[in-house]
């Protein structure tokens, strides 16, 4: 495999990993506060539709992103209402929201644009355009590092860089801020947080809102960054892969970065069966590569590679007094 092919696969990895990373961080905040969220897929889909629709109407991608975040947040709050306020089953609420999102996105898009549940194609300022990082042109002649910088690191859309920046920010919030300490505590032992006089409900709601924000960015990236418009079911199961990545990452921000980039890399590799055949001298069926993220997750869950321990209070609604 030559260097430029490798760079192309890495470039593709960045694009494919970004929605996974954002969704994975979204799940991280929610689950760390003790709210399981399998509705990441639905929130992404909702955000993708809102972004596509509003960007098409307003002509500005950033207004579209705001709408996408809004759409995902509404779903996040419904999930919060069901699982925090009404102490419902978090898994059922998540599944239900996925179904609602799958239907309502097409319904709204069809009502607005009459294009069969699709939003009109975006162009110009209505979609994210690649950003050339400084010195990309000048450095591209430097061997090895130059092309890496110019082709892989530079030339992505704004949300890719925001997603990567979100990793250290999440780490800082979770491990260095007072809010983060409380958030982690509420996912492990909400009773002790409550005893300290801090509202469990408020903490969990703020976690769910952060989840909505990050899912909103993930969905917006799909419909306005990777694609130029929303299409029915366009997230194609990425919310579930993000959940698998979250387990793989053992609920840690830096782990989320590595896990999603590994999964993104596997997806990018699956697009190039010719490269695999050249390197390994035998061919691997593409479905096997597609399944690899899930297989790896099962291996991690089974305890072969360290231990993945979920937040202890995850999935259980907090009841103050019995």
């Amino acid at each position: 495999m030559d260097y430029s092919t490798f760079l192309q696969i890495l470039d593709s990895t960045f694009r494919l990993a970004t929605p996974l990373l954002l969704a994975c961080l979204a799940g991280l905040f929610s689950e760390r506060s003790g709210i399981f969220d399998i509705g990441l897929e639905g929130k992404m889909l909702m955000a993708a539709m809102c972004t596509g629709a509003v960007a098409a109407i307003s002509g500005s991608v950033w207004i579209g992103v705001l709408a996408g975040i809004g759409g995902a947040m509404i779903f996040a709050l419904i999930h919060g209402l069901a699982s925090i306020t009404f102490r419902g089953n978090q898994l059922i609420s998540g599944v239900a929201l996925n179904f609602v999102a799958s239907g309502i996105t097409v319904l709204v898009a069809q009502a607005l644009f009459r294009q069969g549940g699709r939003t009109p194609p975006l162009s110009g300022d209505a979609r994210f355009n690649p950003i050339e990082l400084p010195f990309a042109e000048a450095l591209s002649s430097v061997p090895i590092i130059g092309p890496l910088y110019a082709e892989v690191i530079s030339g992505h859309t704004a949300l890719v860089y925001i997603a990567i920046l979100a990793v250290p920010v999440s780490w800082w919030v979770l491990y260095r801020s007072r809010f983060g300490l409380r958030l982690r505590a509420v996912g492990e032992n909400p009773a002790s947080v409550d005893t300290a006089g801090i509202s469990v409900v408020r903490l969990r709601y703020s976690a769910v809102i952060i989840t909505g924000l990050l899912c909103g960015l993930a969905g917006a990236y799909m419909s306005a960054g990777l694609q130029a418009g929303f299409g029915r079911e366009m997230t194609a199961g990425r919310g579930y892969i993000a959940l698998a990545a979250l387990i793989f990452a053992k609920w840690r921000p830096w782990g989320a970065l590595y896990a999603t980039f590994l999964f993104g890399f596997l997806q990018a590799l699956a697009l190039r069966p010719d490269v695999i055949e050249r390197v390994l001298h035998f061919s691997i069926p593409t479905p096997a590569l597609d399944a690899l993220p899930y297989i790896l997750t099962v291996i991690v869950l089974a305890g072969f590679v360290g231990r993945a321990i979920p937040p202890r209070a995850g999935g259980e609604p907090y009841v103050k007094e019995r």
Partner: protein, 331 residues
């Protein structure tokens, strides 16, 4: 006076149409959705053409899930719709169960040729012939000598497209390299534009500068990525040239609209119990040429493709059909 005329006219129309109302035709769209800009939309266009020409009405149903197939079919047949047209091979098994229960209703099914029932008309297209023609155009338009194919779900029907395409490309340029990718092995592969776009970018990095997408909704991503990357793409089923003017080389037309239109026009007198093959000769398949892609198609290209089309029609050139033996002689 004019009012009187209107009344009389309305009464006359009513009298004429009462017979027809009982036997409105119906169409069921498959899971890709009515407005997929491709296969199902072609069926919709055929139905609309019939409506515009005859002023009649028709019933329609859009599938939302796999489980609805039988229910949808029975409901339309019980409601007196005749004929009932459905798009897609996935209806084959269900129709096999439902059709005997409604011997007086005529059914037409597209992309199926293995049912043998007295009240079913099966319409099969020779996609390999149409794909052969666009394959020739791809090889002639390519400057790099490498062209690409992106299929949707990995099923024999899509391999039939791929095989015809490769044969056409090799016929125009024996040294051409064809890169083939399938999007996936589940129905989600029809609706993953993001993966379609990444596949297109991956093929471009391998040198492909013309990419043929036979992938339903995934194809929208392929066409978009090709336009963004400044290479050419080829649409499928419906004419997709307008989606990115000047960036889509052509579209492989599968005249599902004609099949639906003709079935609707025949009405309850539809001739059934046979397989109707819509091939190049009967204009069931072909390539699209309009104002959006006219600058891309050279006279030389057009002459070569039209000549090949004539040869296929006359039987002088045989395009191998993948579905007959599940193998492709070239790759």
């Amino acid at each position: 006076m004019t009012l009187m005329k209107k009344f009389l006219g309305a009464a006359a129309t009513l009298a004429l149409s009462t017979g027809a109302v009982l036997a409105d035709p119906a169409i069921i769209y498959d899971l890709g959705g009515k407005f997929d800009k491709s296969f199902n939309e072609a069926a919709f266009n055929g139905a609309e053409r019939w409506k515009a020409e005859t002023g009649g009405t028709y019933k329609e149903l859009e599938m939302q899930s796999e489980a609805q197939r039988e229910q949808a079919l029975r409901r339309l047949a019980e409601g007196g719709a005749n004929p009932v047209v459905m798009t897609g091979f996935a209806f084959g098994d269900v129709l096999g169960q439902v059709a005997p229960d409604f011997p007086d209703t005529k059914f037409a099914i597209i992309d199926v040729d293995w049912l043998d029932m007295p009240n079913v008309l099966q319409v099969a297209f020779t996609e390999h012939e149409g794909s052969y023609l666009v394959g020739m155009m791809a090889a002639m338009a390519s400057e790099s000598g490498t062209v690409g194919f992106i299929g949707g779900m990995d099923i024999p029907l899509i391999r039939k497209f791929a095989c015809g395409y490769v044969q056409g490309a090799k016929a125009a340029n024996p040294n051409v390299t064809v890169i083939q990718n399938m999007t996936g092995t589940t129905p989600a592969a029809w609706n993953d534009p993001v993966k379609g776009a990444e596949l297109a970018k991956a093929q471009k990095s391998q040198g492909a500068d013309v990419i043929y997408a036979a992938a339903g909704g995934t194809g929208i991503g392929v066409l978009q990525a090709a336009a963004d990357e400044g290479i050419l793409s080829i649409g499928v089923d419906s004419n997709q040239n307008h989606m990115h003017p000047g960036k889509v080389l052509t579209s492989m037309l599968k005249r599902v609209d004609n099949a639906v239109y003709e079935a609707f026009k025949a009405g309850p007198d539809l001739e059934t119990g046979m397989v109707k093959v819509m091939d190049l000769a009967s204009e069931g398949v072909g390539y699209a040429l309009d104002e959006y892609n006219a600058p891309l198609v050279t006279d030389e290209m057009k002459a070569a493709v039209d000549a090949a089309a004539e040869q296929i029609k006359s039987g002088a050139t045989k395009v191998h059909d993948y579905s007959t033996d599940s193998t492709c002689p070239v790759s």
